[in-house]
């Protein structure tokens, strides 16, 4: 009984601390926006419109649609959703390829010796330099963008997976071997869980790379998408509009990372030495 009440008090105090921390974070955030508003109003620079103006532009841009589309405007369907789709689609393909290949190479003793330097070199190539190659191969459009995203996002996942698969505890290896664990169980229940922390570190890095490459590929060659709208608003000198796209990209980056972190915390909850700082 005492244990239960103990736990309840602890939970309550944790919740209180969480709420006050949450409130404090938001207070600081609101304060920062207020300072930003004041500074931009005082400076009155055309390049830096006040946040209130950015928000008005953004709301009009995204939420002016009819009720049947949940008030989302055409812009959302024409530009934002395709962009997110390409980013997540390319990333997902990179995850499947990277984890699959990485597990295979990590298990093989000599495989990595053949391809290691090659992969290190591929990873070192700044992915935007390959955009012209993908452009002539796939034409202007989603193919080129997804190819660029996959090429940029796969290396952190692949190399981290190899690292993680290699770092499986030798006691676990011997135990599983002495029980003659069949290969599918061995991979699925011993190797992959042990490699997961490293894999997740690679996933996080490659997700932000995917977002960056989505924007780059759309800035260079695209007929729609967030990056395309961003550069065309700059060319029209419509700065509140340009800023609303920048803010949207910030929100996207924050949101995608937050979702992945939540998934990671749930999946890795069993890990004893897990720090939440990451």
């Amino acid at each position: 009984m005492t244990q239960v009440t103990d736990r309840a008090t602890r939970l309550r105090s944790q919740a209180a601390a969480g709420i006050s921390g949450f409130a404090r974070n938001w207070l600081v955030f609101i304060g920062a926006v207020a300072v930003w508003e004041l500074a931009t109003r005082l400076a009155a620079s055309v390049f830096f419109p006040p946040p209130s103006q950015i928000v008005t532009t953004a709301v009009e841009l995204w939420f002016s649609g009819p009720a049947s589309q949940l008030f989302l405007s055409e812009t959302v369907f024409d530009h934002i959703l395709p962009s997110i789709g390409r980013c997540l689609g390319g990333w997902a393909i990179a995850v499947v390829l990277g984890v699959g290949l990485g597990t295979a190479l990590g298990r093989s003793r000599t495989g990595m010796e053949y391809v290691g330097p090659l992969f290190a070199f591929f990873r070192a190539i700044p992915p935007p330099t390959l955009v012209p190659v993908f452009m002539v191969l796939f034409g202007l459009g989603p193919g080129m963008q997804v190819a660029t995203i996959i090429f940029g996002a796969i290396w952190p996942i692949l190399l981290n997976t190899v690292d993680g698969v290699r770092s499986v505890d030798s006691v676990k290896v011997d135990t599983a071997r002495s029980f003659r664990t069949p290969a599918p169980y061995w991979i699925g229940m011993v190797v992959l869980p042990a490699a997961l922390p490293k894999i997740f570190a690679g996933l996080r890095l490659s997700l932000s790379i995917s977002l960056i490459l989505m924007v780059v590929s759309e800035l260079i060659g695209s007929l729609n998408g967030i990056g395309h709208e961003l550069i065309s608003s700059q060319q029209q000198f419509d700065f509140p509009l340009m800023w609303s796209w920048i803010v949207l990209l910030g929100i996207l980056g924050y949101g995608l990372n937050a979702v992945l972190l939540t998934v990671e915390r749930r999946v890795l909850r069993w890990q004893p030495t897990r720090n939440d700082d990451g």
Binding site: N25, A32, I125, V133, S208, Q234, G278
Partner: protein, 256 residues
């Protein structure tokens, strides 16, 4: 020795497959020239002065950007890592600024600072500051309390604690951050040159070569050179880190 042969075999195998795929006609030669042609172009370009100047412009911008990032992020990280209330106060702002993809700022930076070398340096600094900053803060939070208590019990002064306990402990983590930032800064420098059509640089060279759509050998040669630069930077920093922090086992652990 055998692993070296295997490394070489892997590289040669890749080039043979590429060469074969082009020769057989799997990929059109106009779009993806065979590696023999690309290598010949690379050697040819390396003898030309304008190309060398582009390479130097890119590497120089990268070095300046990384230097500024280190000079900004390490002191900021040390301050934020050791003063708790400052860390909480700035957290929301940092959390808001960090996820903005640096490339989203390319249009803005082009307008505000122009298309010169300042633009690519500004963007590279913006992107490269975060890994160093976060690794520095993280390192200070992870110091073994026993170490700090021991130092305090011996009557070590506050400044001495920072230089003799905190900094040596944090150094490997900071270095890992610098290594990540070095790669990011190179990507940003080349991307900005490519997107913005800067007056010089490797990215600009690739942009100009690709504009006709027929000089794909030059595009790929530029890509190969960019890859080699990135590889040398990463490999050099890795070796340096291993030499400098031989005493530390946590070097690999900090790579997050």
């Amino acid at each position: 020795m055998r692993s070296l042969y295997r490394n070489l075999a892997g590289l040669i195998g890749f080039f043979l497959i590429w060469e074969g795929a082009v020769r057989v006609g799997l990929v059109p030669e106009l779009f993806v020239p065979p590696p023999s042609e690309v290598l010949a172009t690379t050697v040819d370009l390396l003898g030309q002065e304008p190309f060398i100047r582009d390479v130097i412009a890119t590497v120089l911008a990268w070095a300046i950007a990384l230097g500024i990032s280190i000079a900004v992020a390490v002191p900021a990280g040390l301050v934020l890592g050791s003063v708790a209330w400052l860390r909480t106060a700035t957290r929301a702002i940092v959390e808001f600024l960090r996820p903005i993809p640096s490339v989203a700022l390319i249009p803005l930076v082009l307008l505000v600072v122009g298309g010169g070398p300042e633009a690519k340096i500004t963007l590279a600094v913006y992107a490269a500051v975060w890994p160093i900053l976060f690794n520095t803060i993280y390192a200070l939070a992870e110091i073994d309390p026993v170490l700090m208590d021991t130092a305090r019990a011996c009557g070590t002064s506050r400044s001495r604690m920072l230089t003799s306990v905190a900094l040596p402990h944090a150094a490997p983590f900071v270095f890992t951050g610098i290594r990540m930032s070095a790669a990011i800064a190179l990507i940003l420098v080349v991307s900005t040159e490519y997107v913005a059509g800067a007056s010089s640089g490797l990215g600009n060279f690739i942009l100009e070569a690709s504009s006709g759509g027929t000089n794909m050998d030059q595009v790929l040669a530029g890509t190969v050179v960019a890859g080699v630069i990135g590889y040398l930077i990463n490999d050099g920093l890795e070796r340096m880190g291993r030499r400098m922090f031989r005493w530390n086992e946590a070097v690999g652990e900090a790579a997050k």
